[in-house]
Symmetry: C2
Subunit: 128 residues, 2 copies
């Protein structure tokens, strides 16, 4: 048992985010990325053909709009999985902090490319 080592902190990672809708990777495990994102306003309608997407709201309120089922409202501490292949669109009226878990190769706008699309490289850039 050696010296102990301090570890990264979720809120510290959120504190380093300066741009909305620009997820950043904070951990990798089993081919999955854990990401943090600050969001505000409406994103874009999209689907991930092969990947489920886990959402956990850390702060604020996130609505996930669906075309084929009731919308989902997530408040602080609430979580939800968007199933693969299902079209959805996240929406936050005020600033909202979201933790995401999804496969490393998931494109955050799915099959949709828009001027909000961030590459995996942009998402993997170091924070701070």
């Amino acid at each position: 048992m050696g010296d102990s080592v301090l570890q990264p902190n979720l809120d510290a990672a959120f504190g380093q985010l300066t741009e909305f809708w620009s997820p950043r990777v904070v951990a990798t495990a089993n081919g999955q990325y854990v990401k943090v994102a600050k969001v505000k306003g409406e994103f874009v309608w999209h689907a991930h053909a092969d990947e489920d997407e886990f959402f956990l709201v850390r702060r604020g309120e996130l609505t996930i709009r669906y075309r084929d089922r009731p919308d989902v409202v997530l408040r602080e501490g609430d979580f939800h999985v968007v199933p693969k292949g299902i079209e959805h669109n996240p929406l936050a009226r005020e600033e909202c902090w979201v933790v995401l878990v999804e496969p490393a190769d998931t494109r955050h706008t799915g099959d949709t490319v828009s001027d909000m699309t961030k590459s995996i490289e942009e998402q993997s850039a170091s924070l701070g």
Copy 2:
């Protein structure tokens, strides 16, 4: 856009846990389980040959002891990935609430079987 639906909440899930070292599955995505666990005291030394294990502390303080590297101390909001194949032992002096993300077939005591071992079925039982 239909009626909105309330979603499960992490702290509500923790509130339903009545036993230490008994993780419960709260979400599934991409073959991974998201689990919540209340822990107190020392667990058992073990390794997961093929699975990384993501830890996020929701409340309290968790030490992850290693044999071959410095221990890790996680406080509220801190997170850490235990790499596959690395022997480790979690330890909490006081009650601690932990979120785990790991492959659905991960045995929480790894290759070690002890009287603390909970089956995947036990971990998948509904809360509440």
